[in-house]
C-alpha cells in the first residue's frame, strides 16, 4: 500500500467512530479491534481517538442521551436545577443510565446556546430556556 492510500484510509477513522456511536450507541472493544485491522493502524491509536472526543463513548449508553450544559452562562441560569429535575424524574445522576436503558444523563461543556440558558442537547436536538415543567414535557415525549 502506498503512503498516500494509508493516509486516506486513516482519514476515515473519526467518521467511522462517529457512525458507530450513532448506530450502536457506543464504541465497543470489538469495533475498535475491527477498525484498527481494516485501516491498518494500531488498536491503541483507534482507542486514543475514541476516548478523546466527549461525544464518543466506549460504554453503552441509553437510547436517549441527555447532555446538560454546565458552563458559566447555563450555570448562572440554573443548570443545577435542570440536573436536579432530571434526577427527580428519572432517578439518575450525571454519568448514569436508567435501568430500562431508556435514558443516559451526561454533563457537557458549552453547547453554544448561552442566550437561551439553561439548555440541553437531547439526541442532537437543542432544548432551551428550560423550566421543570418543560423538562417533564421533553422527557415525556421520549417515553
Amino acid at each position: 500500500m502506498s503512503e498516500k492510500l494509508k493516509v486516506e484510509g486513516r482519514e476515515h477513522l473519526l467518521a467511522q467512530l462517529q457512525d458507530e456511536q450513532e448506530n450502536a450507541g457506543y464504541i465497543s472493544e470489538q469495533f475498535i479491534k475491527q477498525t484498527a485491522e481494516s485501516l491498518g493502524i494500531s488498536i491503541s491509536e483507534v482507542y486514543g481517538v475514541a476516548t478523546f472526543y466527549h461525544l464518543l463513548s466506549t460504554q453503552p449508553q441509553g437510547r436517549n442521551v441527555i447532555l446538560v450544559c454546565k458552563c458559566i452562562p447555563c450555570y448562572f441560569k440554573g443548570s443545577d436545577s435542570v440536573i436536579e429535575t432530571i434526577h427527580e424524574k428519572l432517578g439518575i445522576a450525571p454519568g448514569e443510565t436508567t435501568q430500562d436503558g431508556k435514558f443516559s444523563l451526561q454533563l457537557t461543556n458549552c453547547i453554544g446556546a448561552c442566550d437561551q440558558a439553561p439548555a440541553i442537547l437531547l439526541n442532537h436536538d437543542l432544548h432551551c430556556n428550560l423550566t421543570p415543567v418543560k423538562i417533564a414535557q421533553i422527557l415525556e415525549a421520549c417515553q
Partner: protein, 410 residues
C-alpha cells in the same frame, strides 16, 4: 453608537432555506466580481481592508491568504472554522442559522483567491442540528452554478473545545485526536495533510463579500486604528436581553452590556470566553477592540450576587477538562490550578495559594504549546488583580476556622 450590521446584514431578512432571497439582497454579486478579478487583486483588496481574524487571535486575513497563494503546492485547502466552542460564544450558530449563503459565497471567493479546489466546513458536533440546513444551502448554491471551481464538504467534530484551535482542527479532519501541533510550520505553509491551508472563522469570512462590493477603503474607515470593521458579540449571563449583536470595533463595553443588553448591578464582565479577560464594573467604559480586549466577542456579565471564586474555579474546570493533554504545562497546570481554586472556593484555602497560582500562571503562559494553556491563567490573574480581597478574605477565614478546630498547620 447604535448597532451596525455588516456581517449580520441579511440575518432575519432573508429566508435561510431559499437562496433566491439571498440573491435579492445582492448575494453572490461579490463572488461574480471576484471571479472576474485576478486572485492577487482580490487578496490585495482584503489586505487593504485591514480585516483581521474574528476567531480570537486577530491575524491579518489578507496576509494569511497571500502566504497560501504564494505557496507553490498544487493542492491547497480552505477550512471554515465553525467549531464554536468558546464558553459564552454563539454568534457563529446565529450566522449559520440565519445566513449560510453569504458564508458559502465568501468561501468561494477565498478559494478563488488562494486557488483551493477543496474546502471544508468544520462544524462542531453540538451544532449537529444545523447540519442539514447548511448542506441544503450548499446544494442550492451549487444548483445556481456558483460553485463550479470548488467542492465544499462539511466535516463534523465529535465534541472537543480544543478543535477550535486551528492545528488541532486539522488533526481532527485527518481523523486523529484533536491535539495542537507545534508551530511553525503555520497552516498557510503546511496545514491539512501537509498542504498549504487557510483556516478562517465563520465571522471573518462573512466580511469578505461586503469588502469586495463596497471596497477596502469603505471598510477601512470603520472601526479603530488597528481593528477595522465591526464585531459580532454574543451576550449572555446576568443581562435582561441576552443575544447576538454587531457593533463597530472600538465600541464601549457599556454600550453592549448596559445599553443593548440591559445588565444591572454589574460586578464584572468576562470578555472573550473561558480564557477571556475580566473587566470590573468600574472599567465598563473600556472600548472593545484587538488593541484592548476582544477575543471571540463573548461578553458574559456577572452581577453582584456572584462569587468570584466559584466563577473562576468553574472556568478553570472547563479548561482542565478541555486541555488536549499534549503538553505538560497545560495538562498538569490546569489540573493543579483547579485543585487550588476548588479548595479556595470550598473555604479550605492556604496562605501560599495566591503565590502558587501566580507562579503557575507564569509558567503556563510562557511554556504551553497553544492558546489554551497560554491563556488559561488570564481569568485567574485578572480576578486576582481586581478582586484580590475576595481571595485573601476567603483564605483568612479558612485559616481562622481551622485554628478554632485546633488544626495548627497553616
Amino acid at each position: 453608537m447604535p448597532e451596525k450590521r455588516i456581517v449580520l446584514k441579511n440575518c432575519e431578512i432573508i429566508d435561510p432555506r431559499d437562496v433566491n432571497t439571498s440573491l435579492e439582497q445582492d448575494g453572490f454579486k461579490a463572488l461574480n466580481q471576484a471571479l472576474g478579478m485576478p486572485p492577487e487583486a482580490v487578496i490585495a483588496e482584503v489586505k487593504a481592508s485591514g480585516l483581521r481574524g474574528r476567531g480570537g487571535a486577530g491575524f491579518p486575513c489578507g496576509l494569511k491568504w497571500e502566504i497560501a497563494r504564494k505557496s507553490l503546492s498544487v493542492e491547497k485547502y480552505l477550512i471554515c472554522n465553525a467549531d464554536e466552542g468558546e464558553v459564552g460564544t454563539f454568534k457563529d450558530r446565529y450566522i449559520l442559522q440565519n445566513d449560510p449563503f453569504t458564508l458559502i459565497e465568501a468561501m468561494a471567493i477565498a478559494a478563488h483567491a488562494i486557488n483551493a479546489k477543496q474546502a471544508y466546513i468544520y462544524l462542531r458536533a453540538e451544532y449537529h442540528y444545523l447540519l442539514a440546513g447548511l448542506a441544503e444551502a450548499i446544494n442550492q448554491v451549487k444548483a445556481k452554478g456558483f460553485l463550479q471551481h470548488l467542492d465544499i464538504t462539511i466535516r463534523e467534530g465529535a465534541g472537543a473545545y480544543i478543535c477550535g484551535e486551528e492545528s488541532a482542527l486539522m488533526d481532527s479532519i485527518e481523523g486523529k485526536r484533536g491535539e495542537a501541533r507545534f508551530k511553525p510550520p503555520f497552516p498557510p505553509n503546511k496545514g491539512l495533510w501537509g498542504k498549504p491551508t487557510i483556516i478562517n472563522n465563520v465571522e471573518t469570512l462573512m466580511n469578505i463579500p461586503a469588502i469586495l462590493l463596497n471596497g477596502a477603503g469603505w471598510f477601512n474607515q470603520i472601526g479603530t486604528d488597528k481593528s477595522k470593521g465591526t464585531k459580532v458579540f454574543s451576550v449572555s449571563g446576568d443581562v435582561d436581553r441576552p443575544g447576538v449583536c454587531e457593533f463597530v470595533m472600538g465600541s464601549r463595553l457599556e454600550e453592549i452590556i448596559v445599553d443593548w443588553a440591559h445588565a444591572r448591578d454589574i460586578k464584572m464582565v468576562q470578555v472573550g470566553g473561558a480564557t477571556g479577560g475580566i473587566i470590573p464594573a468600574s472599567m465598563i467604559k473600556t472600548p472593545l477592540a484587538f488593541e484592548t480586549i476582544l477575543g471571540s466577542g463573548a461578553v458574559t456579565a456577572l452581577d453582584k450576587s456572584r462569587d468570584t471564586l466559584d466563577f473562576v474555579s468553574r472556568t478553570v474546570e472547563f479548561l482542565a477538562e478541555e486541555s488536549c493533554g499534549k503538553c505538560t504545562p497545560c495538562r498538569e497546570g490546569t489540573e493543579v490550578m483547579l485543585e487550588i481554586l476548588g479548595r479556595l472556593a470550598r473555604g479550605e484555602g492556604q496562605k501560599e495559594d495566591i503565590q502558587t497560582l501566580e507562579e503557575l500562571s507564569n509558567v503556563m503562559s510562557l511554556s504551553s504549546l497553544c492558546g489554551l494553556g497560554q491563556a488559561a491563567s488570564i481569568p485567574v490573574l485578572d480576578t486576582l488583580k481586581y478582586f484580590r480581597n475576595e481571595y485573601e478574605t476567603r483564605i483568612n477565614q479558612s485559616v481562622f476556622l481551622r485554628s478554632l478546630r485546633g488544626q495548627r498547620w497553616q
